[in-house]
Structures are given as structure tokens and as C-alpha cells.
């Protein structure tokens, strides 16, 4: 099902390309030895290189290069053995050199793709045009003084990977799925923490509309959207705006727009006429970056298992559905948790408990999977207790809640609280007999043909057993006794 905007002049298709800036996880900045860690008092992580002092020169940090290469593998892309850094020239107070060192026509990574899974089960392949390395700028603070702006250069020079998709995205949902997939890939690799709310992953969206089959329309670029949901909203709004404009006989102008998340509206930031000419040219302070086959091979060997491979493995090894596998692999930590919990246990059931009870409980507690009070080993053990009949799945709900509240092992909880399932025929029969004896009129009704009352008897006997009776046995025995 493609995403179509119905207009008066016919159907409209949207065309989206995303540019995502990922802050590279590394100890030091891209071209200086200054620390690249987040936080820290203003201007405490700044070297003379970062501050653009006279005579200072950039020297490439190979840790950042390796992160970019690994990410390139994650994007199924070509790693370019020669790439070149270029200067993007513009003036701003947060840009100490008056230029940003970036890569223009020779990026370190090009021509890749990622496959994204949609809710309807479809898989879409989104092309990646390139990934290049560049420096982040500093930060301006306008709220420190009535008439002055302050500059914090802690972020100036931190490495970014700019990942540019091809204009292959056709719906807000695909954009969302693409971003989630990209985030999961960089997190698996450990090249970016992917936290959009902290700005370590930022997204620009290029949006245009067209009648299906026609050439691309003029695009508008929506800058710096800071959550996946907002990106989806911004695309939806912008596409509608463009369709309305075109249908009224107007023209879309190539411009930079800004998304206001409070109103859900995009607004003009600057038009093409006022666009800056960045005067790109190769940075003469740096020599072309050449990668050896040895380095590329070593990094390829070091690649962790990525979401796609893991998904495939989860389906094949654990018999999960594609949908369930997707849910589990989206976050590396969840996948790791699942594998630990599923090891030697009923993986499908473990998966269900993770996606149902565990996610629900963590959500309520506001905790991440790594902070889960239920350890993966305990969850696996609980599933064993269900499967071997020690507890019923109904009791399991209680056991699970105790595990969340008290953090104990399921065995401890079952023993302490006496929650062990009653699977002893005579014990269950005894309870049934009592219930039958106490409700002669209901028994008569049942026997006269009111079958529906069976459920009522099940409830009563289960209640009398404090929920511990083995439900299957209880059902069978009850039926026998009632029928007489």
C-alpha cells in the first residue's frame, strides 16, 4: 500500500531523502586531541586547533575513521580507499576557523542501502548515497547576557558522520522506519549512541511531491528535526502543504524550512536566493585519507552481528515470527537480553513475555532493559516453570509481578508464596467435590443443558484452589464430575 495524497488534480506521491548527522563515539575529536565526551563545563574541552588559533593544523583521528568504515559496512556500502577532506567556508561565531572540515566529492563511504520493514510486512530497500566525516560546530548561547551571546566550543570539532539517503522514501512511515533502522545499526556497531533528543543524531528531510510517474518535484529541506516522530510529522505536513500550494497553481520554491514541533508546521528559514555559497575546496592542510586493505579487512572481521543478520537468525534458530524478531532486534540491548533469556528455554514463550509483560512493566517503571529487575536468567527459568507445569500461566502473571517488585528468582517466589501449581488429581478432585457439593442448584442447571455454566464452575474451583490448580487437569476433571 503506497502512501498517496488525494488531490483535486489527482493522486500525489511524496518523495523524501534524509540527511542524518550522527555524532561519532570516540575519545577525541575528529582533528584534535581534545576530549569529545558529552557535557563538561563550557569551553573546557577545547584545544587550540578547535579554537582556530593561528598556525594550528588538523590531524585526523583514526578512531573516528574506523567508526565511519564500520558504519559503512553496516550500510552495505562501498568503503572508499581514498577520500578527501574539503573546507566548507562560512562565517559564524560557533565556527572558529571560518570553515568546517567536511568531505565533498570524495566521501569515505558511498553507495549503500538499508532494508526497512514496514508494519504491513513489506520490506523496502532505501538507498544510501554516501556517508562522510565532518566536524561539528560549537554552540551559541543567547540567554546568558542581555546584549551578548556566548560561545561554547566543547562540541566544536567533534566528529560527525553525515549519512545521506537517496530520495527513495515514499511515506512518513518509511521515513520513521528508516531512521529507526539506521539508529539500530549505528547502535549495534557502537559508532553513535543514536540519541536524537540529546542531539547526537539529527535529521534533515528533503521533501517533494509529484504525480506518480512524473519527474521529481522541487524540494524543500526541513532542517534539524530532533525526533523520529517529528520527522514523520514534518514530512506529512510539508507534503500536504506542497500539494495544496501546487493545486492552487503555486510553485514550490527550493528553500530551507524549519519544523515547529509545538504547532506541527514547517516555516521558511531561508530561500535559495539567500543561500550561502560554501566555496568548497580540498583542505590543503590534510592529505587524502588512504585506507589500506589490511585495515578494511580487520574492521570487517571485527564487525558485530547486525540487526538484519540477527533477525534472520532469530527466525531460523528460535522459530520467531518476522514481526517478533523485528521487535526484539530493534535495540541491541533487548536482543542481547532475549538471547540470554532464551538460552536453553522456550524461546518463543520468552519472546512473548519480553514483548508483553516485561515491556509493559519497564514502561511503567520508566526503566530500560538494562535496568530490568527481572534478569534474563530468571525470565528463562520462569518460562521453564510454566512449561514443566510447576506454575500455570495464570500464576506466572503473579510470579512475574513479584519478580519485578522483589527481584527474586522465580523458584524463591514460588516456594515462599506457595504458588506451586496443584497437579495432583486427588487434591483437585477434592476441591471440585466441595464446589459441587456447595452448589447443587447450579449443578442441576448444568446437567439440564446449561453448558455455559462450565465456565462458572471453572472460575469457582480455580478460586477455591487459590489459582494454583493445573487448569488443564481442572477442566478435564470438572467436566467428568459435572457430567456425572
Amino acid at each position: 500500500m503506497s502512501y498517496i495524497i488525494k488531490g483535486e488534480t489527482g493522486d500525489w506521491e511524496i518523495v523524501v531523502g534524509l540527511e542524518v548527522h550522527c555524532e561519532v563515539i570516540s575519545k577525541a575529536k575528529l582533528f584534535s586531541g581534545a576530549s569529545a565526551t558529552f557535557g563538561g563545563e563550557a569551553n573546557t574541552q577545547v584545544s587550540f586547533v578547535d579554537a582556530g588559533f593561528p598556525g594550528m593544523l588538523p590531524v585526523i583521528n583514526h578512531e573516528c575513521v574506523e567508526q565511519a568504515i564500520k558504519t559503512g559496512f553496516g550500510l552495505n556500502a562501498t568503503i572508499n580507499k581514498k577520500s578527501i577532506f574539503a573546507r566548507k567556508n562560512y562565517y559564524y561565531a560557533d565556527l572558529p576557523n571560518g570553515y568546517q572540515i567536511s568531505q565533498s566529492d570524495h566521501p569515505i563511504v558511498s553507495d549503500g542501502y538499508i532494508d526497512v520493514d514496514l508494519e504491513n510486512g513489506e520490506t523496502r530497500r532505501i538507498g544510501i548515497e554516501r556517508l562522510h566525516l565532518e566536524q561539528d560546530a560549537g554552540k551559541l548561547m543567547h540567554d546568558q547576557h542581555p546584549s551578548k551571546s556566548f560561545v561554547d566550543l566543547n562540541r566544536a570539532g567533534v566528529a560527525l558522520m553525515e549519512i545521506v539517503s537517496r530520495p527513495d522514501i515514499r511515506s512518513p512511515e518509511e521515513a520513521g522506519a528508516y531512521l529507526r533502522k539506521l539508529r539500530s545499526i549505528v547502535r549495534y556497531i557502537g559508532s553513535c549512541d543514536g540519541n536524537m533528543d540529546e542531539g547526537s543524531m539529527r535529521c534533515d528531510a528533503n521533501v517533494s511531491v509529484r504525480h506518480p510517474g512524473e519527474p521529481f518535484g522541487t524540494r524543500a529541506e526541513i532542517k534539524n528535526v530532533n525526533s523520529i516522530r517529528f520527522v514523520m510529522q514534518a514530512i506529512e505536513y510539508e507534503a500536504k502543504r506542497q500539494v495544496e500550494l501546487l493545486e492552487e497553481g503555486g510553485k514550490v520554491v527550493q528553500e530551507t524550512r524549519k519544523f515547529d514541533s509545538t504547532t506541527g508546521v514547517t516555516k521558511t528559514m531561508r530561500s535559495k536566493e539567500t543561500a550561502v555559497d560554501y566555496r568548497y575546496f580540498y583542505d590543503p592542510d590534510l592529505i587524502p585519507l588512504r585506507l589500506t586493505d589490511e585495515l578494511i579487512e580487520r574492521l570487517h572481521k571485527e564487525m558485530p552481528e547486525l540487526p538484519d543478520a540477527m533477525k534472520k537468525r532469530f527466525i531460523e534458530n528460535y522459530g520467531l515470527t518476522a514481526y517478533d524478531a523485528d521487535q526484539l532486534i530493534m535495540e541491541k540491548d533487548i536482543a542481547t537480553y532475549f538471547e540470554k533469556a532464551a538460552k536453553g528455554h522456550d524461546a518463543k514463550k520468552v519472546a512473548n513475555y519480553i514483548m508483553g509483560d516485561l515491556f509493559g512493566a519497564l514502561n511503567k517503571l520508566g526503566k530500560s532493559i538494562n535496568e530490568s529487575p527481572v534478569s534474563p536468567e530468571n525470565l528463562g527459568r520462569m518460562v521453564d516453570l510454566i512449561n514443566d507445569g510447576t506454575i500455570s500461566s495464570r500464576i506466572a502473571k503473579d510470579v512475574f509481578q513479584f519478580m519485578i517488585d522483589e527481584g527474586k528468582t522465580p523458584d524463591e517466589i514460588v516456594n515462599e508464596k506457595g504458588l506451586k501449581q496443584v497437579s495432583d488429581t486427588s487434591a483437585i478432585e477434592k476441591i471440585i467435590d466441595e464446589v459441587i457439593a456447595n452448589n447443587p442448584d447450579k449443578v442441576a442447571e448444568f446437567r439440564s443443558g446449561k453448558d455455559k455454566l462450565l465456565g462458572w464452575f471453572v472460575g469457582q474451583t480455580m478460586k477455591a484452589s487459590q489459582g494454583k490448580a493445573n487448569p488443564a487437569m481442572l477442566n478435564e476433571l470438572l467436566r467428568k464430575k459435572l457430567v456425572g
Binding site: 593561528p54 588538523p58 590531524v59 559564524y92 561565531a93 576557523n97
Partner: protein, 497 residues
Amino acid sequence: MTDLVELTVAEALDGLNKKEFTSVELTQAHLDEMAKARELNAYVIETPELALERAKASDERRQRGEKLGKMEGIPVGMKDLYCTKGVRTTACSHILDNFVPPYESTVSLNLQNNGSVMLGKTNMDEFAMGTANLTSYFGAVRNPHKDKNNPDKFLIPGGSSGGSAAAVSAGLCMCATGSDTGGSIRTPASFCGIVGMKPTYGRCSRYGMIAFASSLDQAGTMTRTVHDTAIMLESMAGYDPKDSTVVNIPVPNYEKALTGDIRGLKIGIPREYNPDKGLNSDVRHVWEKTAEKLKAAGAEIVEISLPSTKYALPTYYLIAPAEASSNLARYDGVKYGLRVDGKSLDEMYTNTRTAGFGKEVKRRIMIGTCILLEGYYETCYLKAQKVRRLLCQEFAEAYKKVDVILAPAAPETAFGKDDDSTKDPLKMQLYDIFTVPSSLAGLPALSVPAGFSDINGLPIGLQVIGNTFNEETVLRVAGVIESVSGMPYRPLRIGGK
């Protein structure tokens, strides 16, 4: 004791080793000479206390018998382009005239670690942009040489390392650092009658050197003899992890290269360096005479052709300003240096840069900015880069046939500060015509005094241009030129002895 300023570096090292005098005495002699010659305006800042302190430390090292540097106790001048920790460094621009670097450039640090003693910062063209040392915020430098027909004429020393050249020539230091982007060492060396060497691009670190055009800038030496050049170059060159363009190869023992024997060496004479117009007859005469003398010394003279030479100047004047426009963007009033406030950020930028930069610097920033704009980038900048590659190839071809190339350093001798040519920036560019090709190709090139003009009595330098990282052959040939020319190498002491 006054005669100490007459010594060469090699002689002074010998005297210091033999305990004939101390570094403090040697340093003091130069400080005294500097005081007598302030009219040259060779230094923009003198650092006598620091110098004497370092000289004393050097003497103590010598006294204690510690391991000594290659230039232990030798007083040097430092071009104001090199950042010197705690000593104001301005590139002779108003925009940096309050800038005191908290770090030391690698070249000045190497020299310091080799025991040399910095006397002060020498005058230069603003941001090394100039051929005559007329663009300095601190005023023009005077060449200590005199036109025999007009002794009162204020002669320029050449640029951009004009302060260093004048200081070395007049005995205000034993040697000095220069920097060469398109001839900034070789032109003033030729005009002031000293030896100036630009080594191969990538031989010396650019860390802490205020950038003009990064792909061309190279640190170099200004001395009174070729032997001193060898000593000084060895003391400042070498790999530096802080500069990605420095090549990680060992620095040879340059003194050993000075064998005085050039028998069998092939010396190329490029016919494109001998145009009908644009080369003065006195310079041509010295060039031809020198070639004859080298032939007599056993070298083979080979005529060669470097056909793209005529494109070198326009190529240089596209690439250098383009890089400069970007390199100088950091001087914006935000972080250090001059700031002239304004009502907005843009206005502050404009006010600061309008007040802070001189005319020539602004001219080059504007040209460079324009060249990098969409449209011009393809037609000007990329084309210039192609010509640059072509020039490199032609030189590479030439070095299959010859060992070094012999050429004039400048088309004429030092000219007057108020000559008409100094008013026309395009005419001024023509002075770089023989130096920019080797700059674009990154080759080692040295200017050595080879004779006096028969017209005005001023010194004339010749260039020896070598193959990449082959400074040794350049030095060897230059050493022979020095001895066959018989040019004086004692300083021209304008304050008298």
C-alpha cells in the same frame, strides 16, 4: 669583541666550542648591533632579556659538558610568522597586533631545542603577502645595500621575509628563519645578497606557522653562507606528527653534502627563464657567467625546457589567494586579536576585518573568495590545479635529464620603496616569476649571491632548484657557486664597526 657579529654560524660554533667567547657575549654583540641599526626596521619586536637568558642557559650547558644542540648558543632572528610562546606574534598585521601565542611553532621549537638564541621577531609583509616588504603593518624594511648611483635611495629588501633578509645581511643576527610561499625567502635573499633556502614542501613542519597558503607555505633558512644554511636547515627540519603534510623521512646530514665537487653533475638551464623581456641584462649576465664557471668546475650545462612556466604566475595567483581567503577567515574578532564592535555579528566581522587587514591582504582575500565561488571554481581554481600538476610533471621530466636547475631568483635587483612599480600590484607580482614555478611544484630551491649588478652595484642571487627532497645536491651546487663567485659574506654593518 664587536667583530663577533661578523662571524658566520660555522665560525661562531667553532669559537664557542673553543671557549673563545660565550653565547652571552655573542648575543650581546648582536643586541648592540640591532640597537645601532633600528633605521632598517628589520625587527618588529626585540627580546633582549629572553635572548640573554637563553644564551646564559646555553653557556651553562656548554660549561656542564651536556649534549649540545646543532646551533648551540647561536643568535637567530625569527620571522614574525612563527608563533613563539609568550612572545607577541602578529604576522605583521594589525588584526593580530595584540596576539601572544600560548604555544611554540615546531620550527622555532626545533631551533630552540638545538640551542639557538632568539633575538626577536623580524618584520615581514602582512601575512607574508608581498614581494617588497611594503605591506607590513609596522612599516617598510630598508635594505642595507645601496644603489651606487643613488646611495640615499630607500631600497626595499624584497619580501615577504624582508626583515629577516635585512637583519642577516646587516649582521643583526647570524641567521634567521624565513618562509616561502611563492618566493618569500629567495627574492629577499637575492635583493639583500644572502643565501636563502626554501626546502622541499613537507620537509619542515608548518605547525605554529601562521598560514598564508597551506599547500605552498614552507619554512626556510636565511644565512650568509651555504654552510650556515646546511647547519640551520638540519636544525629546524624534520617529521612532526602535528602537521599532516610533513613527510616522515630522516633529515640528512646537510653539511656532509658540501663536498665542493660538482664534477659530472648536470645543470639545467631552462630556456623559458630567459625571456626577451622581463629579465634585466645585469641579471642575465651573472647567470651566464655563473653557468660558465660551473662548467669550468666540471659540471655539464644542459639546456632544458619547462614549457608551462608561462602559466605559473597566473596559476599561483589563483591558488594562493584561494587558500588565503579561507585561512584568514579565522581572524574574525571572536576569539583573539583585534575586535572592532558592531551592532550585529556581521557588522562586528566587517568592522574588525576592515580595520584589521591591510590593502594587499584584503585584495587577495577578495580575489580568493571570488575564485572559489560556484562557476569560478571550475573555470579558475580547478584549471589552476591542473596546470600545477602539469608543472610538476614537467619538472619531473626535467630531473630525468639534469640534477639541478640554475635560474635567476628575481628578474632584477632591489628597487626603491617609492618606485612606480610598487604602486601596481600586477607589476609587483612579476617579481615572483622565477620563484613560483618551483613553489607550485614543492621543490627545494635556494638563492645564492652570484654577483653584483654592473649597473647599480647591487647583489644578484641565482636560484638552484633541485628535485624533491634532494636538498643535498642543491646545497652542493650552491656551495660551489658561492666559492666561484667570490661574493662577500661578511655583514654590511650600517652603523659602522
